[in-house]
Symmetry: C2
Amino acid sequence: MRKGELTRQRIIAQAAPIFNQRGFAGCSMQDVMEATGLEKGGLYRHFSSKEELAAEAFRYAWDRAVKVRSDNLDRSHGPMAQLRSLIKQFVETPSVVRGGCPLMNTAVDSDDGNAVLRSLALNGIRDWRTRISAVVEEGILSGEIRKKTVPRAVANTLIAGLEGALMISRLEGTKTALLDAQQSLETMLDCIATR
Amino acid sequence: MRKGELTRQRIIAQAAPIFNQRGFAGCSMQDVMEATGLEKGGLYRHFSSKEELAAEAFRYAWDRAVKVRSDNLDRSHGPMAQLRSLIKQFVETPSVVRGGCPLMNTAVDSDDGNAVLRSLALNGIRDWRTRISAVVEEGILSGEIRKKTVPRAVANTLIAGLEGALMISRLEGTKTALLDAQQSLETMLDCIATR
C-alpha cells in the first residue's frame, strides 16, 4: 500500500469512533485534525469534504461490525444454530468501534439529515436483513423451520430486538436489556422451529 | 399563564421538533432563533443555555409521546389486552413530535454525549419500563399471565422491539418493520398467557 493510501486509511480508522460517538453534526474536521495530528491541508488532501470522510468512516465501522457479527457464527449445525449464534454473538460483542452500533447511530442521526449517510445506513439494514432472511429460507427448505414462516419478518424482528436492546443497554450501562432480548428472541426461534 | 411563561412554552414547542430531528449538536440557538423569530437576547431571557432549552425540549416531546402512547390504551379488558393495545398504539402513532421517538433519538445522541440529556433519557426508559412491568405484574396476580414470567424482561422486550422497529421503519420510509414487530411481539404475549 502506498504511503498516501496508508495515511488515508489511518485517518478513516481514527475518525470512525469520533463520528460513531458524536454523530455527523457533532464531529468537526477540527476534531479529526486533533485526533490524527494532521493540519487542515493534510486532511483535505485525502477527503474533499466532511461528508466524504463521514461516509468512509461509516463504511469502515460497519464493515468491522458485520465482520465481528458474522465471522464467528456457528455454520456447521444448521440454520437454527446459526440464528442462535448470531444473537449470542451480538449480545456478547455489541460494539466494535467505540460508540455503539454504527448502523443504529447513523440511522437515527441521518433519518432527518444527511442523505449520503442515510443511503449507506439503508443499504446496511437491507444487506443485514438479506443475510438473515437467507438463513431462515435455508431452514425452511431443510425442514428445520416451519413452512409458513416469513423470512423478512424473522429478520426484522431479530434486528429490531437486538438494536433496540443495545440502545437501552448502552444508556443504562448494563447488559440486562441485551440478555432479556436474547432470551425472548430465542423463544421466538423455538416457536418457528419444527421440532 | 403570564406572557413571559407563554413565550417560554412557545419556544419549547417550536424547538422540540428541531432538537428531535437534528440532535443536540446539530441544532444551534441560531436555528431556534430562526424558527421562533426571536432575537438572541429574547431567547436567552428565557433559557440560560442551549443545554437548558434542549432539556426542556426533550421533556416536552417525551411527555407528548408518553401521553399518546398511554392515553388511548384499552384498560377495561385486563392486562393482556392493555399490553396488546400498547403495541398497536405505538405502531399506529410512532411519532408525535416530528423526528421520531424522542427517547431513542436522545438516547443514541447522548449515550456518549451530553450528561443532562442522557440522564433524562435514562429516566424516560426507566419510567416506561416500570409502567409496562406493572401491567405484567397485574396480569400475573390476576392469573392471566404465567407465574414464571419476568415483568422486566417482557417490558425490555417490548420497548426494544418497538424502538428498534421504529428505527428501521423511519430509515426505510415504510411501516413493514413496525408491523413485523407487532406480530412477533403479540406472539410473545401469546406465549406468556395462561390461556
